[in-house]
Amino acid sequence: MHESVWQIFINAFLANNFVLAMFLGLCPFIGVSGKLETAVPMGAATTFVMLVASLCAYGLNLILGALGLEFLRLIAYIVIIASAVQLVEMVLKKYSPGLFRALGIYLPLITTNCAVLGVALFQTAREYDFAQSLMFAVGAGAGFTLAIVLMASVRERLQLSDVPSVAQGTALSLMLAGVLSLAFMGFAGLGG
């Protein structure tokens, strides 16, 4: 393997940011980025699910490969992710009910967050080994958290400014995402 774990991390975190360069996980990115206080836990929860999903996907891929059942990969991955999300949901509900309510529908929707499935699929497609997969998941999670926190901060500031009423809402969020994405293009080539 020619890619070092550090390169993989920087690539997933900045140069090929999961949200702003690869368009993964846009639903929570647009939906939960209204307030900073929900954006941070959302990023943390997603990162945790990514990590669990990545570990499980790595083990599962070995088993499926040994049995010659590669065509079941997609179905197996999605079931693993759904279970991991269920776990996070139960933990949050028990230890932090307020946060659980604040995240609302977006918590179970981590299952259908393409960034999570994306981590599992990309690490398989690129044939990462165990350490690389782990680092890839951490980088992707950190990248997602960074993007959603940046977006939430900008949107909080925007609430105080005078925006034409036509542009308010999703259209404005998308424009902002475009500008952020343009800024992140400056990191291109950083990961080598």
Binding site: L20, A21, M22, F23, L24, G25, L26, C27, I30, F71, L74, I75, I78, V79, A82, P108, L109, T111, T112, N113, C114, L117, G118, L121, F122, A125, V166, A167, G169, T170, A171, L172, S173, L174, M175, A177, G178, V179, S181, L182, M185
Partner: protein
């Protein structure tokens, strides 16, 4: 169910509840693969297949699926059809498979499909479910095409690979890069919001004159 009802059901997905421009769902594939009109339409067709097949199957099985595990069941059904499409595209055109990349497999987590299965197909018989799914698919494909066409025209100066502007055209490269996707979708939403605003103002003026 009369004929007009069916038409209404169909048009709901195409226009009034358009998945991309009104509900703003399924954005990830909508922005990632729409660098050209051909890619956009291929993605639309693949999603259409998965959406209609899974909605019909969910509708047929709606009385057999226990309520507690319905989401998991839907996801497994959707994942099965996506695996079919994945292998099918790989067999038909390797170039297209490479262009769409992981986004074919990521159809599994397209919120439109799970949303339709949960909100519509699980409560209706197969025929309305099929009509609704077809309407939604057409709406999604149209949305993808609207994005892909604009991005290809501005970013590459062509449509369906045919050059439009002659040799002196300087392509607007940012449009086929990631930021362009966000900008073009944002502008489409802005346009629809402005049209809606105008319609409301007109209706208000008519009401005041009457």
């Amino acid at each position: 169910m009369s004929k007009t009802d069916r038409w209404d059901e169909f048009m709901e997905g195409v226009w009034r509840q358009n998945p991309i421009f009104v509900m703003v769902l399924g954005l990830c594939p909508a922005l990632a693969v729409t660098v050209s009109a051909v890619n956009a339409i291929s993605m639309g067709i693949a999603t259409t297949f998965v959406l209609t097949c899974s909605c019909v199957l969910v509708s047929l099985l709606r009385k057999l699926i226990p309520k507690e595990v319905r989401i998991a069941t839907y996801i497994v059904i959707i994942a099965t059809f996506v695996t079919v499409v994945d292998y099918l595209i790989q067999a038909v055109s390797l170039a297209l498979y490479d262009a769409l990349g992981a986004f074919i497999q990521l159809i599994v987590v397209n919120c439109i499909i799970l949303g339709r299965a949960e909100a519509h197909a699980s409560k209706n018989s197969p025929l309305p479910a099929l009509i609704n799914a077809l309407g939604m698919s057409l709406g999604f494909t149209l949305g993808l095409f609207a994005l892909g066409a604009v991005r290809e025209i501005l970013g590459a100066g062509s449509l369906f690979g045919i050059a439009l502007f002659g040799g002196s055209f300087q392509p607007w490269v940012v449009m086929v890069l990631p930021p362009g996707g966000f900008f073009v979708l944002g502008l489409w939403l802005l346009l629809f919001a402005a049209l809606e605003r105008r319609k409301q103002r007109k209706a208000l003026e008519v009401a005041q004159h009457a």
